[in-house]
């Protein structure tokens, strides 16, 4: 079992990225908090031995995304969608429109785009994290990008242009 200091360091180092990933995946603050907490508890109990910090980071993201998937599966099975509007999750700004568009994507595109564009992982690394093939990840990136652009363009750019035109 890991020491409290080790957990504290991991929370400080990777807490934001895990919370962000879980929040984007689950769209529910309380669920995201639970997923992150469970991830660290798993980390503490299993005390895995990693050769470098990147490996630890990837492991934590893998565990967290699996927990998110588990929670989504439960919601799906029981036909509950306790999703919250983005405005209730973070302070909205002009820039949060694209984040809102991302969060409106289906789950499989959401996780891939998040890992790639927000967390900076390459296709092969994402494939390792989510347990899919490189081709599948590439496809999801491609499809997800198109969906994201379209949603963003339709849902938000019109509003922005209208606001610019009519003040």
């Amino acid at each position: 079992m890991l020491s409290n200091d080790t957990i504290r360091d991991a929370v400080e180092e990777y807490g934001d990225i895990l919370y962000r990933t879980c929040l984007i995946m689950l769209k529910n603050k309380a669920d995201a908090e639970d997923a992150v907490q469970d991830t660290y508890v798993t980390y503490m109990k299993k005390a895995p031995d990693f050769s470098d910090s990147e490996h630890l980071k990837a492991w934590l993201i893998t565990v967290a995304s699996n927990k998110c998937r588990d929670m989504l599966r439960f919601r799906n099975r029981h036909r509950t969608e306790p999703e919250e509007a983005l405005a209730t999750l973070i302070q909205p700004t002009d820039d949060t429109n694209i984040l809102e568009a991302l969060m409106s994507l289906p789950e499989k595109f959401r996780i891939v785009l998040t890992l790639h564009y927000i967390d900076g992982y390459k296709v092969e690394e994402i494939a390792g994290i989510i347990g899919k093939s490189g081709s599948a990840v590439k496809m999801r990136l491609s499809r997800g990008r198109k969906l994201l652009e379209e949603i963003y363009r339709k849902e938000y750019m019109y509003e922005i242009r209208k606001a610019q035109r009519f003040g």
Partner: protein
């Protein structure tokens, strides 16, 4: 598209300080409980058992904006020429016409990577063939993209994808009798934001019915999921229980196979997690040495004492209901006959006649029990069966089963304690954990002998309840939740396993002191638990100070103020045990 903006926006999301505190507190609690339990965990290596497999789960995505998926392909849609009858998978949609569709897509289904819209689940060949049959039974009429957009198409309700090498074909179904068939000859590289040219065909077809039939077919396949432990002699399970270091002898394997073959395992698609202690653990010999942290390669079977088997096989996880009492008796006789004890082996016969303290439930209040009660307790304990857990087993169980809750507030509650203190420092005790785990301790200053056993919580509850009338106050006055029908917690329907856990959460407090009111408290409860009983809804509310309220059949509200530990309350702390016990799962 400026993805930098996306990154910048997302990076504004920071973990709340309260969450950091909560995580560190929880980890500290677990570590403290660990220390108290006296179990050391040397868990240097893990495998990917925490990976939750993605079985086919039907899901329709509701969030995609109208026509969003289509627009990418519309600009590059081609004119399609009539072509010959379609036999081989094509890499170009120009060969497809109304006479060759859906066969054109169906032929692609034999390719290696085929997925549905949820989690890239590969279809079996049987499923692929069934999909082909379904697709072929409908009339597909090609329409223009203008017709498509002018129709009722609004959002994809199902997606079928085929990836072969760097090419992808997809057949997406939309509401309003619409479908789209798209071909992407070359998948773009990861940073190619412009994308590659794609070809698109639009169809009018009874999409809703097709999707329904595919979903029904997949659901049916789930119900036919492989039976756990079938033909165990052919499987790589060489270890029985949690940490046996030797392979199971061949004759035992054969006998175990026969027992398991005669056990009925009923697939339970609604179960997603078990909140209890695995009584038996099967895995292959390589498991403990697994080095990979990111792969889910281990085949594992847990048999829980709640009557659920959790099976990890070929990267998938399945849950099954089974008769725990019958199977455990048979397994114990076959494999653990040398580890079965009765209370007479664990407890000195006249121990209960000594000056003991008995703690019932979670209130940690000493109960003064009569000699008659002591005699009844002994009557049960002396003949009850306990299976000893080897020292090394607990450690591996802990690692493998992800038992985060065992030593915490929920299944880790000590339901009953019998303590004998020889002097201030030296004590002897039986701690019966609600999860079915008995700790027998003979310790001086917390150090000494700790041995662990599996016991039957339901039988012990019944025996103690019969022996000690005062314990009836430990049973929640609104009833045991696991006996009720559909239960919602904060609006979410919970599954049967969570229902059992929730029953445990509320069991064991002292419900004697109650106040009745005409209405619930005005403040917002942390948890609202609801279930329909006859013609009314039973509502149980828990507040963040530990208070529990429920409505009876006459509409009267019964309130139990900070039920739980008076010791804790006397230290000025607010008892929030119930809130925390539920907390990590549903908040």
């Amino acid at each position: 598209m400026k993805y930098e903006k996306l990154k910048d926006s997302a990076e504004n999301i920071k973990m709340p300080d309260e969450l950091k505190t909560r995580i560190l507190d929880r980890c500290s609690d677990i570590a403290a409980n660990e220390k108290r339990s006296g179990i050391e965990h040397n868990s240097d290596h893990v495998s990917g058992v925490e990976r939750v497999s993605s079985r086919p789960v039907r899901r329709t995505f509701a969030a995609v904006a109208a026509c969003a998926v289509l627009a990418a392909g519309v600009g590059t849609a081609l004119h399609f020429m009539p072509g010959p009858a379609y036999n081989e998978p094509s890499s170009d949609l120009s060969e497809i016409n109304e006479n060759t569709f859906p066969e054109a897509f169906s032929s692609l289904l034999d390719r290696e990577f085929v997925s549905n819209d949820n989690e890239s689940e590969g279809f079996s060949q049987e499923q692929r063939n069934e999909i082909k049959n379904i697709l072929s039974e409908y009339e597909w009429t090609e329409i223009s993209h203008e017709q498509f957009f002018s129709g009722a198409a609004s959002k994809p309700i199902y997606m079928l994808e085929v990836i072969d090498g760097n090419s992808m074909w997809e057949l997406d179904f939309y509401e309003g009798h619409h479908a789209i068939f798209q071909y992407i000859p070359e998948l773009p590289e990861e940073d190619d934001e412009e994308g590659k040219e794609s070809q698109t065909l639009f169809y009018s077809v009874n999409s809703a019915e097709i999707v329904q039939r595919i979903n029904d077919m997949l659901a049916s396949a789930e119900n036919d999921a492989p039976r756990p432990l079938a033909d165990i002699t052919e499987k790589p399970y060489k270890e029985i229980s949690w940490s046996a270091t030797e392979a199971l002898p061949e004759e035992k394997r054969v006998a175990l196979d026969e027992i398991l073959s005669n056990t009925t395992f009923t697939y339970n698609p609604d179960c997603t997690k078990v909140y209890s202690f695995p009584a038996y653990f099967f895995t292959d010999a390589e498991y403990r040495d697994a080095q990979s942290h990111l792969e889910d390669s281990a085949d594992l079977v847990y048999l829980y004492n709640t009557g659920v088997a959790e099976v990890h096989e070929a990267g998938n996880t399945y849950f099954y209901d089974y008769d725990y009492d019958t199977l455990s008796r048979q397994i114990d006789e076959l494999l653990f006959s040398d580890r079965i004890f009765t209370g007479k082996d664990l407890v000195c016969a006249d121990m209960l006649n000594e000056d003991i303290s008995f703690h019932g439930g979670k209130s940690f209040e000493d109960l003064q029990i009569s000699d008659e009660s002591k005699a009844k307790i002994w009557e049960y304990l002396s003949t009850a069966k306990f299976r000893k857990v080897a020292d090394s087993e607990a450690s591996l169980a802990y690692i493998s089963a992800d038992l985060k809750d065992v030593y915490d507030h929920d299944i880790g509650f000590v339901n009953y304690e019998i303590n004998r203190y020889y002097d201030y420092n030296h004590g002897w005790s039986l701690h019966f954990y609600s999860c079915g785990y008995l700790e027998v301790a003979d310790a001086v200053n917390g150090n000494g002998d700790f041995t662990y056993y599996i016991y039957d919580p339901a039988a012990l509850d019944a025996a103690l309840r019969d022996a000690i009338p005062e314990l009836s106050s430990s049973y929640p006055p609104f009833g045991m939740l696991y006996k009720m029908g559909e239960i919602k917690v904060n609006g979410n329907v919970i599954d049967e396993q969570f229902k059992k856990k929730l029953s445990n959460v509320f069991f064991g407090y002292n419900y004697i002191n109650e106040v009745t009111n005409d209405d619930f408290r005005s403040e917002t409860p942390v948890y609202t638990i609801e279930t329909d009983i006859n013609d009314r809804t039973l509502t149980i509310r828990t507040y963040n100070d530990g208070t529990v309220e429920y409505n009876d059949e006459n509409g009267v509200i019964h309130s139990y103020d900070r039920i739980g530990s008076p010791e804790t309350s006397s230290e000025g702390m607010i008892n929030t045990e119930i809130v925390w016990a539920i907390d990590p799962e549903l908040y």
